[in-house]
Structure formats: C-alpha cells, structure tokens
Symmetry: C2
Subunit: 233 residues, 2 copies
DNA sequence: AAAAGTCAAGAGCACTGCTCTCGATTTATC
DNA sequence: GATAAATCGAGAGCAGTGCTCTTGACTTTT
C-alpha cells in the first residue's frame, strides 16, 4: 500500500508525470504526433482524466513551447557567460554553436518553436517573452564589446536613412534591448540573428540536403563572418 | 446530358479536380489540416475513390510540394529575368522581394516546403531538384555580375583555409552551380541565401513578432546589405 | 457528520487515414 | 461482335484522434 498522498501532492505529481510524458513523446515523435490519449496511456491514466490537468492539447503544446524556449535560452546564456573573457567574435560563434547544438539535440523542440506553426494553434502571449531570450542574449555580446570599446565600426555606404520608418523601428528596438550603439549595428545584429536561425533551420528541417559534408565547419565559418560584419573581433 | 468522356479523359479531369481541391485546401487551412476525405468531398467523390488516383496522403503532399517549389521558382526566375539590365545589387534585392512576396501570398505553401517537416513524412527524391531552383537562380545573379566584371571582391581577413574540408565542399558546390569565382564568394552567397530564408521565415512563421512595423523596408535593407557583402553593387 | 469540492473512469460524437469488397462500366482481346 | 480484363465509384469497416458529458468514488472543508 502506497503512502497516502494529500490531494495537492498527488496533483502536482500527476501533473509532472503528464508533462514528462508530453516531453518524451514530443522528443520521439514530434509535435503533430503528440496526442493527449497517448500521453494518458503513458501516464497510466484514462484520456478524459488528463483534462483535469490541461485545458486542451493546445495547452500542453504551449507549456512545451515555453519549456523549449527556456531550455534553449539556458543553453545560450551559459555559452555566453562561460566565454565572458574571450574575444567578442569567439563569444558570438560560441553562442551560435550553442543554438545549433541544442537544435541538433532537440530537433522536435526546435521545430515546435521555430518551425511552421501548428495549424489552428495560435501561440498565446505567455510564449513571447521566453521566445526573445536568444536574441536578447546575443545582443549582450555586442553590448559588452561596445562598452569595452572593442566594437569595430566600419563606415557603411548605405546607412538607414534617419527619416525612414525603419530607422524609427530600429531605434525602438535598440531601446528595448538597451543597446547604446548605432541603429545600423542593430540592423546588422538582426541580420546576423536571422541568418543564424536560417542556417540552423536549414540543417534541422531539410536534414542538410548534403550540400556540405561538415555542417559544423560551415556553421562556424558563417557565424564568424556575420560576427565580423557586426564589428566583433 | 454531358458529352461522353473517354476513360482517360475522365481520369485526367478527376485528377486535376483532386489537385485543385488539394491546393485550395492547403491554401486556406494549411498542410496539417489537409485531409483526403475533405478533398474527396470537395471534388464530389467518395473518400475511397481518391485512392484510385493517389497512393496516400503523403503522395498528395509530395505533389503539392513540387507544385509549390515550381511556383516559387517561376516567381524568382521572372524577377531575375525582367531585371536583367539593372544593377546586380538591385537584381538581388528584386529576387529577394520575389521570394518574400510569394511567401506572403502563399504562406501555407511556404510553410510546407520550408517549415518543419510534416511528421512521419519523408520528402522523396522528386522534391530535391525543384527545391534547388531558388538558390540556383540567385547564383546566376552573382555569376552574371562576375562575368561582367561587376563583382567587387574585397579582401577578407578570414578566407576559408584551402586545406579544410569545408573548402572542398564549397569547391564542389561551386562546380554544381557552375560558378567561376572564389570559394569565399560561394560561402557569402550561401550565407545570403540562408539569411534571406531566415528573414522570410521569421516573417511568415511568427507573424512578425511586431519588432518592426514595416517588414518590407527591413527586408530590403537586409537583402541589400547581404548583396553588398557578396560584392554586388 | 453533512456539504462541497475534486478526481478517474467510461461512453459517446465527429473526425481522420486507409483497406477491402461489391457491383457497374469501360477498355482490350479473341 | 462477344467475352475477358481492367478500371472505377460506392459503401462498410478498422483503428486512431480531440473533446464533452455523466457517473460514482473519494477527499477536504464546514
């Protein structure tokens, strides 16, 4: 006979079991194959009972998305922190490798947060803040370099016109991430981040159409080049 | 009384109706909501009859993927051809805008080919060739500029080591796309294409987390900057 | 001890992909 | 031209899905 659990204890325990089962099924079969019934089976509970813990399948999806964002965010944060003493460009490359490694280790989680949205599912507001952790973390590298005077600002032939709406947007964005440099740099960082995302997505989604045998080398070369464009040395 | 159709005529006609219904459902509801039963309903046929024309749901998906690739490829080709007389950088930006416009007009098709793969579905070999049309088309811009002597080659601090595996891969890739320039340029083009893909994906997949109010301006600024990095002026 | 709240279970609805059989019709063969 | 072969749409059926509702047992609060 198991020790008698209080109502609250039993509840948190079952909730954890459900989330664990969801995570494991997401990892093995992917988001679209995730079903509440199979989660219920794995937990050893009947399907309708799951609805006492989750509002819907989308609810489970949302929780898994937030989990994934935070897991990735932790990985990138750690890479940035542990390389605090290194050269800015190396820190940037390290952060990129952290993203890539995490995605390779958790492809379904990556697809869940960065892939095509699950149809009929609209990500609620809860997911937006953890979703910004990676770009925020990347900016800190640039910010650190800027404050240390290590950021190389090369003259540009085409700066964003100060009268344009884009310029205003970039200024706003700069304020959000608390960056002090020029808006052109903000654009470069935005570019570098989208490029990093694109590179990882290509590799994860189209199993690297084998255009290149060593993806890690390509990734390093690509991220290093973007770091150079930003002005990180 | 309708004119009597031969077996072959009726078959091709029904096949077309099925594909049209599939395309329309893909456009309105997305890939995951695409069901053979609803396609059958739209065509006015019973669900099992569809299996006389398609092997499976995946079969339909594959055909739609090839369709989408070719539709996008046509759009980009046209943008590149009609801007043949313009400056290389402008041609590049135009091609990028073609990709972006097509994606905005056909978000579900874009998600189908560039988003997270449908679980349990492995894209067959038929899809790989149409899938390379866009990067191939982009290379022609660089190739044209290179042959015309318009490609600005700026000295790089970090060229890909000629002894590395990556260098070999890039050389191979250069041969495939029949480009004559340096492998470093191949890397830049690869970077630019990934970045373009990343930018469009961000906009399509995460309904542009409203970091910027005018996505078109951002897209133009970003693609123009990448064109500059390649050496297109 | 009684009332209120919480829980798992099960049945049921509408939907999915896919298979199989059954007549009807068209095509190909003799 | 008759007959055999191939093709086709229809329908039933299987196993699965998300989700809702009711029922009965249990725990907590009053």
């Amino acid at each position: 006979m198991p020790p008698k659990l209080s109502r609250a204890e039993a509840r948190t325990q079952t909730m954890k079991a459900i989330m664990d089962a969801g995570r494991s099924q997401l990892a093995t079969d992917g988001a679209a194959a995730l079903s509440l019934r199979s989660v219920a089976r794995e937990v050893g509970i009947v399907s309708s009972a799951v609805y006492r813990y989750l509002d819907s399948r989308d609810d489970l999806l949302t929780r898994l998305i937030i989990d994934a964002y935070n897991s990735l965010g932790d990985a990138v944060d750690e890479a940035i922190l542990t390389s605090a003493k290194e050269a800015p460009a190396d820190r940037w490359v390290n952060a990129g490798q952290a993203v890539r490694s995490w995605a390779a280790a958790n492809p379904h989680e990556y697809a869940l947060v960065f892939g095509s949205p699950v149809p009929g599912y609209a990500a609620p507001a809860d997911t937006v803040i953890p979703g910004t952790r990676v770009p925020f973390a990347l900016v800190t590298i640039v910010q650190d370099a800027y404050l240390a005077g290590d950021l190389v600002v090369t003259p540009r032939e085409d700066t964003v016109a100060s009268t344009s709406q884009l310029h205003e947007d970039l200024k706003l964005l700069r304020g959000v991430v608390d960056f002090a440099g020029d808006t052109d740099i903000v654009l470069d960082v935005l570019n570098a981040w989208t490029q990093m995302f694109g590179l990882v997505s290509f590799e994860i989604f189209m199993q690297t159409r084998d255009v290149v045998s060593e993806n890690e080398s390509l990734f390093e070369a690509a991220t290093r080049r973007m770091a150079h464009h930003i002005g990180l040395r």
